[in-house]
């Protein structure tokens, strides 16, 4: 084997794990272990790593098991946020390896589930002492952005549904209440905004026969969006905080997405633009990822139809594309159940990849 290949972090981790097993088996003293671990961390080529292990006995089944077990645990720990992993991965690995019985080569199901659940809990907690958890900040941002989105959609729908006979007064009537909501939110009047949003919700419910205000066909997206606004206003610090942390990037992304689906008539193009924007948001920051997760609730009803496609005229882009290639019933089932599952899996994989990638770089802030 060529000694001049550059090594990588996984290679160094594997050799360090082997060294610890050799120490546990008594082939190395504590001093020798520390010396060789240092040499491993500084190793640049595969030759360096080979020399660290040179005089040690060959692989034994026990050591191979332990090394495989450690690799399994590292894969599970990759689900934790990158910043948290930089600080805590090593000590957590030490704990799980100590607890694991000898001879195991894969983490048990209970252990795996516990670690994954722990990762979810840590992601929902604040990332710094005294900070807000990311999801509350995302809700605060939504309490500002969503009313603007609702206003845009109402205006576009009013435009689409107006005919030469209806006057401008009719269009104004349709967008009056959403406009009021936006004004109240921008004035940072949280409680008044809650009342306005609830009022708009009730008015929609009363008008449910003629659901032209928000979605054109099925009212579910409109209800969900307004419900999300109410939740965002109540459960978060509110528009004051939202306006503080709102960046032009987030706002622009969401507004572009809204205008795209309002203007383009090509369903394929709409989907491509939305997919690109979602991918961009998922990679930018944890706040953006929370925004995506929360926006998915009304967006799912709007884009993919879901179960609501059964009740209203299916105006969703994805539904039109799907029925081109699939029979109607299969399209319904796929959109309602398979698609969200696929999206969820992709989101989890993306979060994990991002965590693995950025946990290799040095950190500038710490929790402890």
């Amino acid at each position: 084997m060529d000694d001049n290949f550059r090594t990588s972090d996984p290679d160094r981790d594997r050799v360090a794990a082997l060294l610890r097993e050799h120490f546990a088996a008594g082939h190395l003293t504590r001093a020798e272990l520390d010396e060789r671990i240092t040499a491993t961390l500084n190793a640049k080529t595969s030759g360096d790593l080979r020399r660290v292990l040179a005089d040690l006995p060959g692989a034994s089944p026990v050591r191979e098991h332990a090394a495989a077990l450690e690799r399994g645990y590292r894969r599970l720990l990759a689900f934790y946020p990158a910043r948290y992993r930089r600080i805590h991965e090593d000590e957590m690995l030490a704990v799980v390896m100590t607890v694991a019985p000898d001879g195991k080569s894969r983490p048990g199901i209970g252990e795996a589930a516990d670690l994954l659940l722990g990762a979810l809990r840590v992601r929902c907690q604040p990332s710094r002492v005294g900070a807000e958890p990311a999801w509350r900040d995302a809700l605060a941002v939504l309490s500002v952005i969503l009313p603007v989105v609702i206003l845009l959609i109402s205006a576009l729908q009013a435009q689409r549904w107006s005919s030469p006979g209806t006057g401008e007064l009719w269009v104004l009537q349709q967008i009056a209440t959403p406009l009021l909501l936006v004004a109240v939110v921008l004035l940072r009047l949280r409680r008044v905004a809650v009342l306005t949003a609830v009022g708009l919700l009730l008015w929609l419910a009363l008008l449910s026969g003629s659901g032209t205000l928000l979605s054109g066909a099925s009212d579910a997206p409109g209800y969900l969006a307004l419900g999300l606004v109410v939740v965002a206003l109540i459960a978060s610090p509110g528009p004051r905080r939202g306006l503080q942390i709102l960046t032009w990037k987030h706002a622009a992304l969401v507004v572009i997405a809204t205008l795209t689906l309002g203007i383009t008539t090509s369903h394929q193009l709409t989907l491509i633009v939305i997919a690109v924007i979602c991918a961009g948001m998922a990679l930018v920051s944890s706040l953006s990822r929370w925004l995506l997760v929360l926006l998915a609730i009304p967006a799912y009803a709007f884009f993919f139809g879901g179960p609501y496609a059964v009740f209203g005229e299916p105006s969703s882009a994805v539904f039109h594309v799907a029925t081109t290639y699939l029979p109607l019933g299969l399209a319904m089932v796929t959109l309602a159940y398979l698609l969200p599952l696929v999206l969820l899996v992709l989101a989890v994989v993306a979060a994990r990849r991002e965590s693995q990638r950025s946990s290799r770089t040095p950190s500038s802030s710490s929790l402890t």
Binding site: R20, D34, E91, M92, V99, E111, L115, G118, A131
Partner: protein
């Protein structure tokens, strides 16, 4: 306050401990009833650190692996004490009523 949180704070009330030490201590305090796993333990430790009830004490390298010790902050000790008082008064009321009911004294 939930039981794992309460027991973790109780374990740390005896002095600074590392993750594995906290797990064995909690198992011992609860007579084997509550066996913490690493994911649960570290999720609770993270929350307690953010709430400033717990902080990192020191780090050591043992057998080639990193070991981090945690300790209670003064606010953490106060919070644990407040919780003990709350539970004590609740259990006192329950015991009294059971006595009146003709149960065990």
């Amino acid at each position: 306050m939930r039981e794992p949180t309460f027991l973790i704070l109780t374990a740390l009330a005896a002095g600074a401990q590392h993750g594995y030490g906290i797990m064995t201590d909690v198992a011992q305090i609860s007579d084997g009833r509550l066996r913490l796993r690493a994911g649960t333990l570290y999720a609770v430790l993270n929350r307690l650190t953010v709430e400033r009830l717990v902080e990192s004490d020191r780090e050591e390298v043992v057998d080639g692996r990193l070991r981090r010790y945690y300790r209670l902050t003064p606010q953490g000790a106060q919070r644990l004490e407040a919780e003990v008082d709350r539970m004590r008064s609740n259990t006192a009321v329950a015991a009294r009523r059971l006595r009146l009911l003709g149960g065990t004294p």
